[in-house]
Subunit: 299 residues, 2 copies
């Protein structure tokens, strides 16, 4: 195998995604200027672009043209950003900061934050439906639109958020917390991989394997996120650790203890790697390295 530098890979892909997002959702003049500005504020507030990068890497993993997946990759980031804006609202988690920056409603007001989130959701579907790349069949794109819609609705992200709101008051066990994470963040991550696989022209079996990788990866990501809140270095995380404990949040370390939570993360990373078992070598290198990286992440 050739050398592979994950850091370079991620930063190059992030740059490409950032540029594409800027092109797909530019500033506008006129009476809609403010809502687009508000949406762009959160869209460019320092996201890691995990979902788009996974989508592009999935297209690559099936030897597809990853650039053809760029509109859908960007749409996934828009859906993710919309969910963060709405989650931060006073009626929801009431957060003033995210990634060290003021949240959308703190800058633009509550009404504009709701509408900026709504606008991002519409724009995601406008972008997906309106940008059929050459070689991508309308049937595949329609299937992708459907799976992203499904992953973001009450069967996925919104469903998870409802459970999360309920859990603040309840005495949730591990199974409920895991069910919540699978819905709140897991389904959209799996959808990113499934979409990339479909757009890259993967076989049904390959797409299934990628979706399974996404399922494991999403949970590994959540567990290591929870662990960082206990053990992380604030300089590398861009936020203070300990906020989960302060909120009495039901985290993996709180429910399992630190050692067992680390073990659970390892198991999920192994599950993700095993799902990719039948893929040929080089093309899945990025997905493998992303999964392995979760076990040593510092931020």
């Amino acid at each position: 195998m050739t050398d592979f530098d994950l850091k370079d890979y991620l930063s190059e892909r992030k740059m490409r995604v950032d540029a594409a997002l800027d092109g797909y959702f530019p500033s506008v003049d006129g009476l809609q200027k403010k809502v687009v500005e508000a949406a762009r504020y959160s869209l460019f507030a320092g996201g890691k672009r995990l979902r788009p990068i996974l989508c592009l890497a999935a297209a690559e993993a099936v030897n597809g043209d990853w650039e053809a997946a760029m509109p859908v990759a960007c749409a996934l980031e828009m859906v993710h950003t919309y969910s963060l804006i709405h989650d931060d609202l006073p009626a929801m988690d009431d957060d003033d900061y995210r990634r060290g920056k003021l949240t959308n409603h703190k800058v633009f007001g509550e009404a504009m934050a709701i509408l900026a989130g709504d606008a991002l959701m519409s724009e995601a579907f406008t972008l997906m439906a309106g940008n059929g790349a050459e070689g991508v069949r309308a049937e595949s794109l329609l299937r992708v639109v459907g799976l992203v819609a499904r992953a973001s609705g009450f069967r996925g992200m919104i469903g998870g958020q409802v459970i999360d709101l309920d859990c603040e008051k309840c005495d949730a066990d591990l199974a409920t917390v895991e069910y919540m994470h699978i819905h709140k963040t897991g389904h959209l991550i799996s959808a990113s991989l499934e979409a990339g696989g479909l757009l890259g022209g993967g076989t049904a079996e390959q797409v299934k394997a990628l979706t399974s990788y996404g399922h494991h990866l999403g949970l590994a990501f959540q567990i290591t996120d929870d662990l960082l809140d206990v053990e992380g270095d604030p300089r590398q995380m861009g936020k203070q650790p300990g906020s989960d404990v302060a909120r009495n949040k039901k985290t993996y370390p709180a429910l399992l203890g630190i050692q067992q939570a680390r073990e659970a993360a390892r198991e999920r990373v192994n599950g993700a790697l095993q799902a990719l078992g039948d893929f040929p070598g080089e093309a899945i290198r990025p997905l493998e390295e992303i999964a392995r990286y979760l076990l040593i992440r510092k931020g």
Copy 2:
């Protein structure tokens, strides 16, 4: 021409749409029960089903199979309902009642109302993408998804809502108010007709004519809505007239005077009818009668 009873037509179609909506978005058990219940509360809170009925009538107008347009017709109602839930929120118009019933956030709380709206939006796209009827090409369905997404985003509905929020404080003139209505409600109404025309297999010219009909009809609907608030009978409207005046809302009668507002409505209805000029007789009867009805509506 044969006899045509608009009242019967509308009530039969409304019944069909109601039944389809109930089937496409049924109650669920489990942890997502509450958000689905909240979404269904507003979905079945007495809407006239104008957008779905127009969509089905447009498919009919091009001699298409109107039943094949039902999933998209229902999705349009979901998008419309989501916009009403978010518009009523305390951070927006802060309304306690809509169509004589408590608004969503008054019954389910603010967080759940935001999420119920979000869930309806996702469900609309899940429904459209997942229900390609026989005889409807994936390319057409994808185009419909794109135009509904566009009409609901910052270029359409959300854009109009942003202007509406701004206008509460500003000294808007007729041009700005009309621009706001075209965006806030007009584009989704036009989209309903365009979608129906496309799904029914209409020619490019027919689809363009239907879209133009929708543009005029949307404005005629708004003007007559404003007039009802001044002249209407509360028993037939299901709400008290005079609420626009009380809010100092910039309405057509307020900007033009009652006589000129009536004239403007007549002009828009004529514009709608003229747009349909080249269509063959019987198939466009429902669209014609709907447009004419606006001039004599009492609620």
